[in-house]
Symmetry: C2
Subunit: 310 residues, 2 copies
């Protein structure tokens, strides 16, 4: 069972309009709403891959009820902890002309000490029988920067591998707790270390406590600095599409690899295939199954490109 934690989940609402014109009124031609937040996206991908997963998240008010209803509709198992504050929304406007997205992110409700305690207890209960703990996304107001470090410490005591996908102070505090994998992007790497070179920055974060660093470098693919060596994996060709959720699919592939016990080169090839397939799908947490099955790594003898030692 892969447990994902989303401390600041959202109802992700997407509006399609013919063309975005600031300071005018728009008729929305298509509306979609789904449960979101990075850990929720990871759980959605794992569920689609047929892997056992459960999404832990806060839920507040009618927006939180809409998040829960969407998870139920898609059969994604969840353990939601109630908050007094209303869950947040994100609102994405897709411009049909250019295909570009304009995004509005609400901050989310402040979480109380008692609510945070209830969520930690929920995670502690799930650690028995968990194969991986995924900690993803921003923290809501009210939680300490050490929130992920606390959860990672509990997982370490239970012998459950941790993947942390965060930024800023929660990332730095989390690294000190010794997670098995962190997945920064290029700007998060540089911001966390002050080092512009991704390889040097990844090595610095390993020295600070992370056992493996998988850096997502956009079009340049993935750089992984792991106990088994350093690897790079690139997408097969330049990508056009919606990059939202591509990083969450990288995390899902790594979690799946830890769950099933594959090697780092296999995990990275899978991560590139899954994130490429996500860019080809319209929304975060979805992926194009044909693209994924075409690119996903196969047993020896297949012609799928595999990552090369760096």
């Amino acid at each position: 069972m892969i447990v994902t934690v989303t401390l600041n989940p959202a109802l992700d609402i997407t509006h399609t309009v013919a063309s975005l014109v600031p300071h005018s009124s728009h008729r929305v031609t298509d509306v979609a709403a789904q449960a979101g937040g990075k850990g929720v996206n990871v759980a959605r991908v794992l569920h689609a891959l047929g892997l056992p997963t459960v999404a832990v998240a806060f839920r507040g008010g009618l927006t939180g009820a809409a998040v829960a209803a969407d998870l139920d509709r898609h059969g994604i198992a969840h353990r939601l902890v109630d908050t007094a504050g209303e869950s947040r929304r994100t609102f994405t406007v897709v411009d049909l002309g250019s295909g570009d997205a304009t995004v509005f992110n609400e901050a989310g409700p402040a979480v109380s000490g008692a609510e945070w305690q209830a969520l930690r207890e929920q995670v502690h209960r799930l650690l028995t029988g968990a194969s991986v703990l995924v900690l993803s996304g921003s923290l809501p107001p009210g939680l300490p920067d050490t929130a992920y470090a606390q959860l990672a410490g509990a997982a370490a005591r239970a012998g459950v591998p941790v993947i942390l996908d965060a930024a800023g102070p929660p990332l730095r505090a989390g690294v000190a707790a010794g997670p098995d994998v962190i997945k920064p992007n290029a700007s998060e790497l540089a911001e966390a270390t002050g080092l512009p070179d991704p390889l040097a920055a990844a090595e610095a974060l390993r020295a600070a406590g992370a056992r493996a660093v998988v850096a997502s470098l956009g079009p340049a693919g993935l750089l992984a600095v792991t106990p088994d060596g350093t690897f790079r994996a690139e997408p097969p060709a330049p990508l056009a599409g919606n990059p939202t959720g591509a990083g969450d699919s990288v995390v899902a592939a790594i979690a799946a690899g830890i769950h099933t016990g594959t090697s780092w080169p296999h995990r990275l090839a899978d991560a590139v295939a899954l994130s490429t397939a996500t860019v080809k799908a319209p929304r975060a947490g979805q992926f194009d199954a044909d693209t994924y099955h075409r690119l996903a790594p196969r047993p020896a003898g297949s012609r799928t490109p595999t990552p090369h030692p760096s």
Copy 2:
């Protein structure tokens, strides 16, 4: 009791951002959500004025539940008829730099024949004891252009005065049913009649069946063509602020005037005061009480400007 009908209500969500930049990501600094739709806004204003009112509307899904929860929170009486489809949202992004608003309107759920029948029965029950029936706003998909005409006909048979605030085919069909008042704006007047002159257009709509036409002409104020004469009423000075909901406040003032039995000049002075006070408030259905009480008509001897025969 003033009954308002909103066939396409909405959850009106307002996001404040520092500056709207298309195709980028925005942190939302303030979030507000309230029940909306033109008839709901009218009920909100009437309730704030201390007048007995009940809002009739469709309600679907969790967005409809949020509409109901907001009405409950503000003590606005309602009779909501459930739809299988989810109620719509509107999103308004307010740019803190310029104060300008960018608006995204969802279309709303299709309404079935049985749902429409249930709403008509609800209105028929409320007509016993109603002083005014207010019909406001666009029709959702699935309803015939004669929807307002059907409700207006039922009100006429029950001896209840009708105010209709609609546009396009539902306005034209509604006028034929002989409503007591219609409230088009300048473009709706021209669109409904093909006549560019507001006075000529208003007279044409009276000839087509409306007993009185109150046209809202923006900065030029109100033009009323009534059985008691033709009047104009202007705001005291050019207005700065948010015009959203100003037309709904005009409707609320006319409904209040019919309910309490005031003269047309008094109703129009009240409508100008209330719509001016609405422009000074941040959101539809709200008004600045100080502005309203300063401008509202008083008994003879007061210095409040009153409308003049035109």
